[in-house]
Symmetry: C2
Subunit: 305 residues, 2 copies
């Protein structure tokens, strides 16, 4: 028995098969089962986590590329489990910041149990009067992204309601649609799409408009990125563009919770989740993300407690 | 005799023939001669200026397009004189801010004499211990552009020296060149080129690098703009991009002079002009700008006083 005692149990895992071209397919991942000791090894200061909720996020596609050019992330390793953000429960800890029973969120494997050898990046979940799965979405990295993009880039304040909405995939003339909805021009754009959408947005920016950029999902499955053409608008409209990643704002997570938790408790934020049950359904859920199949935040339930 | 007396003299003019496709050619402009009364009409509060120095600037190409899409500028009128920034001497004034003998700079016609009916946008030249032509360049709009891009966009401070230089038109591999010169990445880029240069720069930005954007000369003679591909770097490197135009900083012109004039007087700034003599040579000078024929700021001398 490895590592000074402890229970050896089976551990289902979703393995990343090999680097991906184009849209990810079922065959790019496969399910396997190993064994895991539910005790943290003696010489480690890690934590052993039972995984509860997995998050499917667009950035994961970038980690499936052989060389994520210029990436601040590290690519997935073929033959190893897919990793992503998720919520789990600490079963064992040799780290002073965590103890058995703690609920945490951070980067975990797509598996039933994960041994986290460097748990410094994990957050302890203090507020459990909201669904735990929210810490994969509105109360996790995606929520913090929205918060940082709006508040820390000095963008939109005091405005959580939408006046209008349209589906950029179904609009035959994006330029015309934007002119219709933004007759005075766009003050603030949250860039997560790129492609034709960004080109149309650039044409319709207001003078001194601002663009917060944290994703470009239309490009992730392309071999070569598409060109963006209407960049002269940056000069004509004196636009400010700020790229950012949520990871740089993790130190503000407590402040973020202070702002957002009351809105959730008071029902002032409408939040929709698309919940899939079972680790074995995680690959299909992730693949569906890039086909626009999910309605709301895509979450995978590994276990409910 | 028009306008209550005054001298009627001949006025050579460079006329814009018609909207331009591709690179501008000699035949897109032609020289003509009219007459002008050297007195401001009684019912005007304008000024009558003898033009001394004309500035050739890349933005002028944009004014030669039929519809400068999204432009904050107004296109040239076929059959009317080319206009641009220049230095002149006031021969007559009915405006309280100007009087005969004042040296000024602002937007004038490509002609010997211009009647300026709205001289509010003109600057009086106070410091004449430096060459007057400098007010078309280092002490005019281009200088203010550099100043605003560095100081007002909170960019590069206390650093007017170049460590390295290369010609982006002669470099076979821009990405490799930038990696060679900027092994730690680029902190600040002043965007005036676009095209392959911007794509290579994006790949080589440092984390939290900044890009000030006030021109994209590689695109001005193209029918359709080229796509820029490496925009994911905006996220990976958390880049800030700020578009701006010098016109928004004209109120800071006195402060700008306070900073730059001492450097010029002390010989701490090396400034090179490419001076062409004679209004009749102005079209060729402007055309040469887009072929990279000038060495230093392209100026046309209409008259020296």
């Amino acid at each position: 028995m490895a590592g000074g005692g402890g229970e050896l149990v089976s551990n289902k895992q979703v393995i990343f098969r090999d680097y991906v071209n184009g849209f990810p397919k079922d065959s790019d991942m496969f399910l396997t089962s190993g064994n895991i000791n539910l005790k943290v090894p003696e010489d480690s200061d890690g934590i052993l986590v039972k995984n509860l909720y997995l998050s499917c996020d667009p950035y994961m596609r970038l980690l499936m590329n052989h060389i994520p050019s210029q990436s601040v992330f590290t690519a997935y390793t073929p033959g190893s489990p897919v990793t992503g953000l998720g919520v789990g429960k600490v079963l064992d800890s040799k780290h002073p910041d965590f103890q058995e029973g703690d609920l945490v969120w951070g980067t975990i494997g797509w598996e039933e149990f994960s041994l986290i050898t460097t748990p410094q990046g994990f957050f302890k979940i203090q507020h459990t009067d909201v669904p735990l799965s929210y810490y994969t979405g509105i109360l996790g990295m995606p929520g913090l992204t929205a918060y940082a993009g709006f508040y820390e880039v000095d963008l939109l304040k005091n405005k959580f309601g939408f006046d209008e909405a349209f589906n950029y995939k179904e609009e035959p003339d994006l330029n015309a649609a934007l002119k219709r909805y933004f007759s005075q021009g766009i003050d603030i754009y949250f860039e997560n799409v790129r492609g034709k959408m960004l080109d149309a947005v650039l044409l319709n920016m207001r003078i001194h408009g601002r663009i917060a950029v944290c994703g470009m999902i239309s490009q992730y499955n392309l071999g070569e990125p598409e060109g963006v053409c209407n960049l002269m608008s940056i000069i004509y409209k004196r636009v400010n563009i700020q790229g950012f990643v949520a990871a740089e704002y993790y130190h503000q997570f407590p402040k973020f919770l202070e702002v957002v938790l009351p809105y959730i408790r008071q029902g002032k934020i409408t939040y929709v989740e698309d919940i899939v049950e079972g680790l074995e359904n995680a690959p299909a859920a992730l693949i569906g993300l890039f086909r626009g199949q999910n309605v709301g935040k895509q979450v995978v339930v590994v276990a409910r407690d």
